[in-house]
């Protein structure tokens, strides 16, 4: 609700600004110039995406011709049909969805439990443990990458999904815990106190009171997790090592190794489009969390 009024405020301010700016001829020119620059920027940033879609609808002959022709003479939906009937594609997509689902379930649950402990429970040693957690934020993943590989090797977990999905169950991602904790700190304390008096235990408070109220923050970390996991290329490359287990990022990346000539770029781009769609959809619906989140928390202090 707060954000809605904020939005209205900003819109009003923007309209006022525009009215002020366009009053004089020189200012009007400035606004026009700004829009021209903005449009040029938007074209630059959107272009690869547009171009990816355009190429995915071309015939192989069109692909061989000059790339200056952005769109095909006639959209070739066949390219997508072909892909949807391809077993490897289907499998990779299913694997990706499976992995993302497991990771989301495991990570979000465990992260919210830990964030609950760090924000709503008072216990001795909490600050020490919390400081320890925050310090792991600084440690780059390279510090643990190699021995983790050895560990999963010893567990005989190479060529399984386990190394990718299961670490998340241990509340993987200190940044996510921090984000959720900050949100949970803002929930009025009277709520759990009242529940406590009614005889609820912390587990019930977590599930019945805090989790429903934390929905926006949980959504935010889910989106971050989803995008990160969906795009993740390195971990699957290291651990999956078997075509049957490949996820979509590997499937797309593997296209580079095709020996065909000319390369079927229209198929490759069609696979890319299908790969990008979920991320793009999620981003379109939740971009406010990304943009406002970073803009408002900022870097001050």
């Amino acid at each position: 609700m707060a954000t809605q009024t904020q939005t209205q405020d900003i819109n009003r301010a923007a309209r006022l600004d525009l009215a002020r700016l366009t009053r004089h001829g020189g200012q009007r020119l400035r606004v026009l110039l700004l829009y021209a620059l903005l449009l040029a920027g938007a074209a630059f940033f959107l272009f690869p995406l547009v171009w990816m879609v355009g190429t995915s609808l071309k015939t192989i002959e069109e692909v061989g011709r000059s790339q200056l022709h952005l769109l095909p003479a006639e959209p070739q939906w066949r390219n997508y049909d072909k892909l949807l009937n391809e077993e490897a594609f289907y499998r990779a997509y299913a694997n990706s969805i499976f992995i993302v689902t497991i990771v989301l379930l495991g990570t979000v649950t465990s992260v919210s439990l830990v964030a609950f402990s760090f924000s709503r429970l008072e216990w001795r040693g909490r600050n020490v443990v919390f400081a320890l957690m925050m310090s792991t934020l600084m440690l780059p993943y390279q510090a643990t990458l190699v021995p983790q590989y050895v560990m999963f090797h010893e567990l005989n977990w190479l060529r399984t999904f386990n190394p990718i999905t299961l670490p998340g169950f241990f509340a993987g991602g200190a940044a996510l815990i921090f984000l959720l904790r900050q949100f949970m700190l803002g929930i009025p304390r009277e709520l759990d106190e009242a529940a406590m008096i009614d005889g609820a235990n912390p587990l019930q408070i977590w599930w019945h009171i805090i989790m429903p109220l934390s929905r926006p923050a949980v959504a935010t970390i889910s989106v971050f997790l989803f995008v990160g996991q969906w795009n993740n290329l390195m971990m699957p490359l290291i651990y999956l090592q078997k075509p049957a287990l490949y996820t979509m990022p590997i499937y797309v990346a593997q296209k580079l190794n095709l020996q065909e000539s000319p390369l079927p770029w229209q198929d490759m781009m069609a696979a890319s489009v299908l790969f990008v769609i979920p991320v793009l959809v999620v981003f379109l619906f939740t971009q406010r969390y990304f943009i406002e989140g970073i803009t408002t928390t900022g870097t001050k202090g």
Binding site: A14, L18, Y35, L37, L38, G41, A42, F45, L46, P48, L49, M52, Q67, G106, L113, V114, S117, L121, E122, W123, R124, R126, L139, P140, A143, T144, L145, V146, Y149, V150, M151, T160, F161, N162, T165, L166, F169, F170, A171, P202, G228, N231, M234, I238, L245, V252, A253, K255, L256, M268, M269, S272, V276, V279, L280, Q287, F290, T295, G298, K300
Partner: protein
């Protein structure tokens, strides 16, 4: 197969959940037991139980996935562990090989560190400039600006995955790729654009060729460059930052100049392929000699001045001695050839850039201008002035542009375009620049300084370029090359690129050339620099409007407002973005994986990519662990720097 794997995973997920629940409760119980031992109250004990139980997943995960592996990694890094083989303690061998560039792994590591250095030096500033420009554009409250913000940020989401990178790779195809086609089309339409584009190609290829020459030629690993260059960077950073006293500024300038010129000397020594000589000698000698020159250039009075002159002369003597030791024959005309002109130019430039401007400086500079002018005249009209002597002097001073000695690379004939190398141009330029500096004098200190820096860069490049293949000039090095049988192939690409101005059909080769793979990567990181943009946007929003209004009342123009208000006010964000950018440069993975071809793998590879490519294909755990710890130490240092200095180095709103 896949479904089997999924069931397997689900099964283990169940075990994991059970394990986490049981161990978390056990952890809680243990904590409660400890609490009881400390005789805490019942309520306290209960709180501790629940707290630890809820935090249990993370605490257990911390031991299993962070602390344990980190310690194991540290241990492995001192061993020669390879998966499936026995472990043997080898002490610091891994680190030594990596840091000194010994063996294949070490060389690869050096290469990737130098690549990261390139990204940090060139890519990060470009990325930050792009991000700042975007943020300033998006900071205007116009209708629909939110949509633009979203579009500008969107590449960040996409660039994390391989799909859009695949599209970029296709767009950057050297033959018929969209980018090259579009550029050619634009070039056909506007001839100015065509010329600029070719200039861009020329510059990029020359620069990258030079960088590749450095990377390939260095026998001692990158650290000798990286360290002084880092120091120079820090000094420059300190310099850019305001509120320094004049003395400190002078000191910083002097330090930066010395280090910069010392690095140049290092490059020269390498270019001269004088392998039997430890290049460090030349490095030290050059630094000492130039320290002397620069000390001389600084103005003081009385006893201090005397001490300075003596010190400077001593430094010069040390420099000469060291150079002599390194194989230069200082007394010979070959050495005089470059010491004299370089010394003259450096003195003049040092004069203009260091310290306050004085009358005496003007006089000296005018004298130098006169001398150069005279020589230029003599060079230009040898017939009229007659006299072999003058012509010989002129030859020395034109870096031998008229000497006809054949070298195996035919450097003189090819390295510089004819017009650039001709004495008229060279001396005309020198005279013009120095006279310009002298004329500007006190009135426009900024312009004077800018001109000095520009001229220093030009003459420096000129000199380095001549030295790189300077075997025609230095008899000693010709002998050396013949004695060792080593030719200077490291800079072959540089020479090739410098050799000819690209014609109209030339296109960037992107992933098909070592000269273009890094620019391609930088282009994509600029495309996806939305995170930096958001951070700048937040910073820009926090700059009080009143400041701008006050400045406007005072009559400050847009540029002044940007330089004096915006930049200082967003310096925390700037600093943050720089550090994050450098860390990201070390950790680049996806882009490299998607862009690399067998030809450009080495020229793209970052440390993180190497860790993946080497460690997980050859399963050399010990080396991989050492590599990752070096990386971790660098990143942690940068992070610590960010935390420690973000408060004291940069401006924060009071």
């Amino acid at each position: 197969m896949a479904s089997e794997a999924r069931f397997h995973n689900l099964e283990w997920a169940l075990y994991t959940v059970i394990f986490i629940v049981i161990s978390s409760v056990l952890l809680g119980a243990l904590a409660r037991l400890v609490a009881r031992l400390f005789r805490l109250s019942g309520a306290e004990q209960r709180k501790i139980f629940w707290g630890f139980t809820f935090a249990g997943p993370w605490i257990i995960g911390f031991f299993i996935f962070v602390l344990g592996p980190a310690l194991a990694s540290l241990y492995y890094s001192f061993t020669d562990y390879q998966l499936g083989q026995s472990i043997e303690w080898i002490g610091l061998d891994n680190y030594r090989a990596l840091l000194l560039g010994e063996g294949r792994q070490g060389r690869m590591f050096n290469t990737s560190m130098l690549n990261s250095f390139y990204y940090a030096l060139l890519g990060v500033p470009l990325q930050i400039t792009a991000a700042l420009a975007m943020a300033m554009l998006l900071n205007n409250e116009l209708p629909g600006i939110r949509a633009f913000r979203m579009i500008f940020y969107m590449p960040v989401i996409l660039a994390g995955g391989p799909a859009i990178l695949l599209a970029w790779r296709y767009m950057l195809a050297s033959n018929g790729g969209f980018v090259n086609e579009a550029m050619r089309k634009l070039g056909d339409l506007f001839f100015v654009f065509d010329y600029l584009y070719r200039l861009f190609i020329y510059g990029t290829e020359a620069f990258n060729g030079f960088y590749i020459g450095i990377m390939r030629g260095d026998p001692l690993g990158p650290w000798k460059y990286t360290l002084p260059a880092l120091l120079a960077g820090l000094l420059l950073f300190a310099l850019i930052r305001g509120e320094w006293s004049e003395g400190k500024r002078v000191l910083a300038w002097r330090g930066a100049t010395i280090i910069g010129i010392a690095v140049a000397f290092r490059l020269m020594s390498k270019g001269l392929m004088a392998q039997p000589i430890d290049p460090a000698w030349i490095y030290a000698g050059g630094a000492a000699a130039l320290a002397g020159i620069i000390l001389l250039a600084h103005e003081r009075r009385g006893l201090a001045r005397l001490i300075q002159v003596v010190t400077a002369l001593a430094a010069l003597a040390v420099g000469a001695l060291v150079l002599d030791r390194a194989g230069f024959d200082v007394a010979s005309r070959e050495s005089v050839r470059y010491l004299v002109p370089l010394g003259l130019v450096a003195t003049a430039l040092g004069f203009s850039a260091v310290g306050p401007w004085t009358r005496r400086k003007s006089a000296v500079l005018w004298a130098v201008v006169g001398a150069f002018g005279l020589i230029a005249l003599a060079r230009h009209a040898p017939g009229e002035m007659g006299g072999d002597r003058l012509e010989v002097v002129a030859r020395y001073l034109t870096f031998g542009s008229t000497i006809e000695t054949k070298t195996d690379l035919d450097y003189l004939q090819t390295a510089f375009p004819e017009w650039l190398m001709s004495a008229t141009w060279f001396y005309g330029l020198a005279v013009a620049v120095l006279a310009g500096i002298a004329l500007l004098g006190d009135r426009w200190p900024r312009a004077r300084r800018a001109l000095s820096i520009g001229a220093a860069a030009f003459f420096g490049l000129m000199a380095i370029g001549s030295f790189l293949d300077g075997r025609a000039y230095f008899g000693a090095f010709v002998d050396l090359a013949e004695a060792t049988g080593k030719t200077n192939y490291h800079f072959a690409m540089f020479h090739q690129a410098l050799n000819q101005f690209p014609d109209r059909t030339r296109v960037p080769l992107w992933m098909n050339s070592e000269l273009w793979s890094k620019p391609a990567l930088i282009l994509i990181t600029m495309w996806s620099s939305g995170t930096g943009m958001l951070i700048f946007l937040a910073a820009l929003k926090s700059v009080p409007r009143a400041l701008y209004e006050a400045a406007e009342v005072d009559g400050a123009n847009t540029l002044q407002r940007f330089l004096k208000i915006t930049l200082p006010m967003i310096s925390p964000a700037m600093f943050y973005n720089i550090v994050i950018g450098v860390i990201a440069a070390l950790q680049t993975f996806e882009i490299i994986y998607m862009l690399q071809t067998p030809l450009t793998r080495d020229s793209l590879s970052s440390a993180a990519f190497l860790l993946y490519a080497r460690t997980f294909s050859e399963l050399r755990i010990g080396e991989g662990a050492a590599m990752s710890w070096i990386l971790v130490v660098i990143i942690l240092t940068l992070t610590a720097l960010q935390f420690r200095y973000s408060r004291s180095w940069v401006h924060y709103e009071a």
